[in-house]
Subunit: 410 residues, 2 copies
């Protein structure tokens, strides 16, 4: 089954927003074994919509549209589709009741304009929109299917996951598909490719490997399409890859590095704290964005000023003056200081020069010291990441977390 | 002049990467007064490329393509274009020299496959690619223009900014265009729209207003197209809007809230520190992601555990036990504590329930107290933001920064 996506809205064309809906659709459909052959972003005019739908129908069996379903006059998608299919707009009582409930829950006043959201082309099947007023609408036109959904990401995602995919699965036979994603931190794509080349060369036709790099991390996604017996080989291949990449693997699928450190800490009933200089709170943020992190994350100190390193963390002024704030000696005092002050079992500390200013010949922008400490160890390492400030902060944060992960896992 | 964008690559269609190139092109061309009428993402096959280019030429005068110009065999764009225009690929000496220089600078070995990057269709004009091996290629076909560029964002951006736009400006007359963006924090889109309705109704035809909402903030962008005298009225309108929205405006154009607090602090030679519970390091991160923040940001304490609020921040255990960690009393002790410990002039503190767990009937998930303090004031406010954890963290952070901004600006 060939799929196309049409996103409607001037805000995409003038770059006000980035079209993340299409990428999400691409990834979720791909996980089901469906292939998107084209994504088209158009203006919200009837002419553009009619042209885009017609030419998508020339190529694809399933066309997914997002956007253009708001209550105001500039949203013309519903009217255009009704005209295209030469049907009337009719009031759907279930949708109306749902809209009324949404408004009464929020305590907002419902206006006539909102009631119009319950008018739908009479030939459509409703895909219930739990979170919003514009329902998803599914049209079966000959052997083609057209689906129109709101552009608000969480509304659209809920409709696709809870309504559309179950509908499609009931109607069509889907290939069996299996994914396994291996998460790594520490090496670039090309080094990883070199290391696992023998395994990659061995992959059967029905298993594909994709490299998904981001700053400081590379995800390796194995995708198998075929019969159940065959694609179960994915597990064997993922084990082989994890063996070769053992020193950089920290998890699988939707896991995160900070989250997995958290799981290890919870299992051991241990706690952690952070002293951050150049990462400026980002490592604390990576821990605390996980629900339940208060079980193991006690706190952090962002010691940007040297004064704070001394007065709050208890690093020695003498050490900072002799070796500098960005030094093995200082970062070790920081990590021991925060561990003691916060009374935790483990601690991480970072001190580096994020730039663009602050570099010297001896310690250029990009220089950073990271220390990790636990009940019976302290390790400090120097790194050099000469890149833009935001990328530097991300890479140092992940590098520091990976150092900690390896120690706790031992 | 109507513009279309074609992005080539399976990684977009399967959702491995989000197509940010199109949004960037939309925004940069819009700033020049050019309108993108359609964005099409396709697979890197000859058939898809030929079809996409032909149908884009039906609608647009200028077609910009990105992607599919790598040295490997799976990149077919260049070959496809040469076939389409029935021309040969010829070696361009300037491009070859540039590629050789790139390789020798990085100390990499240049292979025959890289030399092929200097082969270009003989009917194209080269748009120099400072940062990569694949040159931009511009084709004038009748009165239409087709441009093929690499998909690597920073290579593409440099080609567009430094080569393509100057070329187009020389060849065509562009409208004069002016943008002014007003940054606000605190009210939703619909309240803002109500407040500035009289001003919006007054806007002349040649000035458009766009609402650009994100979590916790709304940007208002005025765009004027016309003659210079006319569009200078944008300044008057932006002043009128800022007057009406005075209590929520924090800046203009590319400024940030934390950055603007920083500017005020630098001007006064003052410093700031942060005590964060529910925002978990995010406010510190928002300050420290700005280059030069060490001039005014001394540090922060992420006091996730109550123990840390008492032992490190010096809040009283008695207060926490009597009133709870999420209370006016505790957040005030936190803000005074961090200000004292970090020895700063100003401080911000947050304490709330980010969820999904941890809520009670009296203090449900989404409850948060924020305190700000300065040389002679302390203000604490309670908010209720019942939403997903990541959105809660962002909204509380911006709300707290806005409280601080208003106090410092007084």
């Amino acid at each position: 089954m060939k799929v196309e996506v049409i996103t409607i809205g001037d805000e995409i064309l003038i770059g006000q927003i980035v079209d993340t809906n299409s990428a999400w659709l691409g990834s979720i459909l791909n996980a089901q074994g469906l292939k998107i052959v084209q994504i088209t972003s158009i203006s919200d005019t009837s002419e553009a919509i009619v042209n885009a739908v017609n030419s998508a129908f020339d190529r694809a069996d399933l066309v997914l549209m997002t956007g253009g379903l708001g209550p105001t006059n500039d949203d013309v998608t519903k009217k255009t589709l009704a005209e295209m299919f030469q049907v009337n707009l009719v009031l759907n009582q279930d949708v109306l009741t749902h809209i009324q409930n949404l408004f009464s829950k929020k305590g907002y006043l419902m206006k006539p304009i909102h009631e119009q959201q319950a008018l739908v082309p009479e030939n459509c099947k409703i895909l219930f929109n739990e979170f919003g007023t514009a329902p998803g609408m599914l049209f079966e036109i000959g052997n083609k299917i057209l689906v129109s959904m709101p552009g608000v990401p969480y509304e659209m995602k809920s409709i696709v996951s809870n309504q559309l995919i179950p509908f499609l699965k009931e109607k069509f036979t889907f290939p069996t598909i299996l994914h396994k994603t291996i998460l790594t931190q520490g090496w670039g794509e090309s080094i990883i490719a070199e290391k696992i080349k023998p395994i990659e060369d061995d992959l059967p036709q029905f298993i594909k490997l994709a490299y998904l790099p981001s700053v400081g991390a590379v995800r390796l996604r194995l995708t198998g399409v075929g019969d159940e017996f065959e694609i179960n080989q994915i597990h064997d291949f993922s084990i082989k890859i994890k063996e070769v990449l053992d020193e950089i693997v920290f998890g699988e699928d939707e896991e995160t590095l900070a989250g997995n450190i958290g799981k290890l800490l919870v299992a051991k009933s241990r706690t952690i704290s952070i002293a951050e200089s150049c990462t400026g709170g980002n490592i604390a943020k990576l821990f605390t964005e996980n629900p339940g992190s208060s079980a193991y994350f006690k706190g952090g100190i962002v010691s940007y000023a040297n004064e704070v390193k001394v007065d709050v963390l208890g690093a020695s002024l003498c050490t900072i003056e002799n070796f500098g704030a960005v030094s093995e000696e200082t970062v070790k005092e920081m990590v021991l200081g925060v561990k003691k002050i916060m009374n935790t079992d483990y601690a991480i500390a970072t001190s580096g020069i994020a730039g663009p200013g602050g570099g010297t010949i001896e310690k250029p922008v990009g220089t950073v010291w990271v220390a990790v400490s636990g009940p019976n160890f302290i390790v400090a390492k120097k790194f050099f990441f000469p890149e833009a400030r935001d990328r530097f902060i991300t890479r140092v944060s992940l590098t520091a977390l990976m150092m900690m992960y390896k120690e706790i896992k031992k």
